[in-house]
Each structure stands twice: as C-alpha cells, then as structure tokens.
C-alpha cells in the first residue's frame, strides 16, 4: 500500500475543500438569494461537473493548461511552466470538479433559513455581511459541514480528471485512486485490495459523518 499516494490525496482533498469553502460561501449565498432572472444559467454551470464525464473536463483542462491556449500561455509566462502535471494543476482541476458538491448543500441550507430572522436582523440595522455571518451561517451549519465533507470525499475519490492532467508523478500527482489503478494494471491485486479497502472505509466514515450531522445525532 502506498502511504505517499494516500497522504497526497488527503492533502489535495484538504486544500480543495478549504478553498471551496471560501469561494463556495459567496456563490451559494448569491444562488440562494439572488432574484436575477437568468440565475438558473449560473446554477446550471455550477452543476455541470455533476453531469459531465471526467474525460470531458479532463480533456478541456489538458487543452486549456497547454501552451496553445491563451490561459496556458499566460500561466507559462508567469510561472515558467505549464499548470498540467503539477499539484497546483490538480487543485485547479479538483476545484472545478467538486464545486457543485460544496455549493449545492450550502445553497440549500441558506435557502432553508427562516427569512423572518434575516429580516429581523435587517430591521435592527445590521449589515448584510454581518447578518450572513451571525444569522445565516450558524443556522446552516449542517449544510456547510455536508458541503465540505462531500467535496473532501469527492476529491479524495477523484480519478478521471487526475488521470488526464496529472501525469502520474509519485508524490506530486499520483493520488490514491491512480495508485489503485496502477496496482490493478500491474496485477498486484492484493496491494490494490488493501488500498481500496482503506478508501472504502474512509468513504463510509465520511458519509456517516454527513448523515449523522444532518440527523442531528449529536447536538452541536
């Protein structure tokens, strides 16, 4: 079993869910409360990674990161190397890939907050930002934990996109799912099984946390 690959996956998943928390909160807030007529278009874009096969996302990312795309050229000029085959590249890819897993639970939680409380806060002259931080977020903790745990778990189990833009570099882009795939390909079924079992256990644990939080098994 490759602990290096597992550690890398955990690191990737932690970085991705932390960043997603930062960008997911405002996006989800906007989706929950905006009255813009064309809002559904943004919702559709956010949900796209749920539907698109990882090959489509991976293929576009590979082309976008390459030196022939404007974005890729810009990155190359700024950093001296392409974004593909790097840890940063995997983070960017995973942010896109796991975005709906963060934003959708966040937005659902925000929408279900009692609007009278939000209005009461506004009536008392509290700013929107403070209302968000002091009223909406505390009342949405279950949805926020769900979103973070799901994006963490989803990134941990990511395979197709990493395969297409990662390049399988040990310690840099060889994540645990790629490692399992390699083990199976090399006919090391016993070793593959060990890692797979561990991943299965971690995934089960993660999902149990999500459901227990939502059922309020433990009062937080």
């Amino acid at each position: 079993m490759s602990w290096q690959a597992l550690a890398l996956s955990v690191k990737l998943a932690a970085v991705v869910s932390a960043v997603l928390c930062g960008i997911g909160l405002p996006i989800a807030y906007w989706i929950a409360y905006s009255r813009w007529r064309w809002k559904f278009l943004v919702e559709a874009v956010v949900a796209l990674p749920l539907v698109l096969p990882p090959t489509v996302l991976g293929f576009y990312l590979l082309v976008a990161m390459g030196p022939r795309s404007p974005l890729g050229r810009l990155w190359l000029r700024g950093f001296g190397h392409t974004l593909s085959f790097t840890f940063a590249g995997l983070v960017v890819a995973s942010l896109l890939y796991s975005l709906p897993f963060t934003v959708q639970p966040f937005a659902a939680a925000f929408r279900s907050v009692d609007q009278q409380l939000v209005q009461a806060s506004a009536t008392l002259g509290v700013s929107r930002l403070r209302t968000f931080a002091r009223v909406i977020v505390p009342l949405s903790y279950a949805g926020i934990i769900t979103g973070l745990v799901l994006s963490f778990a989803h990134t941990l189990g990511e395979f197709g996109v990493v395969l297409m833009v990662g390049g399988n570099i040990p310690g840099v882009t060889r994540t645990v799912s790629i490692d399992i795939y390699d083990q199976v390909q090399s006919l090391n079924y016993a070793s593959a099984n060990q890692t797979a079992l561990l991943l299965l256990a971690v995934s089960f644990l993660t999902l149990s946390v999500v459901y227990s939080v939502n059922r309020k098994v433990w009062a937080l």
Binding site: T82, V165, L187
Partner: protein
Amino acid sequence: MKTWRLGAVLMLISLLGWSAPGEITVAAASDLTFALTEIAHSFEQKTGNHVKLAFGSSGNFFAQIQNGATFDAFFSADVEYPRKLAAAGLAAAPTLWVYGTGRIVLWVPVGSPINLAKSGMKALLDPSVQKIAIANPAHAPYGRAAVAALKSFNLNDQVGDKLVLGENISQTAQFVASGNAQIGILALSLAVAPTLKDKGTYWEIPTDSYPLIEQAAVIPTAAADKTLARAFLDYVRTPEAQAILRQYGFQPPREKL
C-alpha cells in the same frame, strides 16, 4: 433425370458447406488502433465476416478476460499477458500468435525548437524540455522499453524528475501532442498514424537499446466463435496483413513461440 439428381446433391452439399457470415469481437492494445482497423476491414471484405474491435490497455483487457469477458481474440502489446492467460488455462490451443514487435521513437510536436535528426537521444536534455511523457513502465510495455532505453543511454538520472507517465501509449501521445509535455517516447505505430503524422516529427530509438516489445494474440477459452477467431489470427500472419503492420511501424515477429 440423372443430371437433375446430381445437381440436387451438389446443391445440398454446397448448402451444407455454406455458413452464415459470423461475427467476432476482438480486444486489442491501443497501439494497434490504426493497423488492426485496416486489417480487420480487409478481412471483412475478403470473407464477409464481421470483426468488432475494442481498443484499450492490454492490462485492462487481461483483467477482464480473467474475470470472464467473452472476447473472441485478444491482441496484447505485451506478450506477458497472453502468456499468463495460457498459464492459467484461459487460452484456447494453439495458444500464442506472435504477430509483430513494436518500436519506440522520440517524438516532438510541430514548432518544437528541437531538431531530433541532429540531437537524437540528447534531445531529452534540451533546455526547452520540462516534461518528458512516457507510458507507465509499471504496466505498459512501451513504458518499460522507454525506461530501458533511457538507462542504456545513461539518461535515467538526468531526466528522472521530468518524466510524466501516461496510462497507456495513446494517452502518452496526448500529453505531447497537446503541448503539455515537450517531448515524448511513443510507439512508432502512433507516430506514423494519420492522427499524429502531420503534428510532429519522430526519431527512431535504436532497437538495441531496449528489449523486444513482442506483441502476441491469444484466443480466450471463453471465446464464442473460436473457428472464426482462428481464421482472423491466421489472416493477421499473412504477408498481406503483415505488410499493413509494417506500414504502421510493427516489425515482423522475430521468433516463433
């Protein structure tokens, strides 16, 4: 009257001998994508039978056949997989058809500052090279050959941290063709294939710097139509089919197994 009877008997015999066009499903390594498609097409035109082709990684097909996939024939880029199937009693006799050996090349996309003809293997040390794409040596035969070649040119230590690994040789080609890696070690069969031919230039790595990449086919015991599969495998060894294989960069088999 007698001639009528004779005619009826002859007709009956020919009817019995006539068989409906068959269909076989063939699993093949992705380095064969172009060559085998062409060979299957000419086999179909000659015999009226239908050949369905599935291309992918040899290791995947091996695992699938082990677990009961019913391919009629399996063309592996690595002779080891058919050998293992035969050892496990999963191959129908006669067991192995070695149909060719693969070769590896250095490949750079159009617009690369590297002149492969001039620099040869030294191209890998060119300052413009940040990433070198090879197939994963852990399970892809072309990847193993690539690493062997790097070692025999004593380049392994100098380029080790620049290697990116493709899942199979086609994905490796994708890494270089998209410009994400600046140079790659690919199968000659892909470098001369229509999709890559005009997109870059290649340089053949001397064959004495890496072990033979033997390609072999096998008929799994679970095959539905072994007779037709055998006919197809025999066809692949005809001079006609071998010419197509050669055209796509496969050398004729050097030894019989």
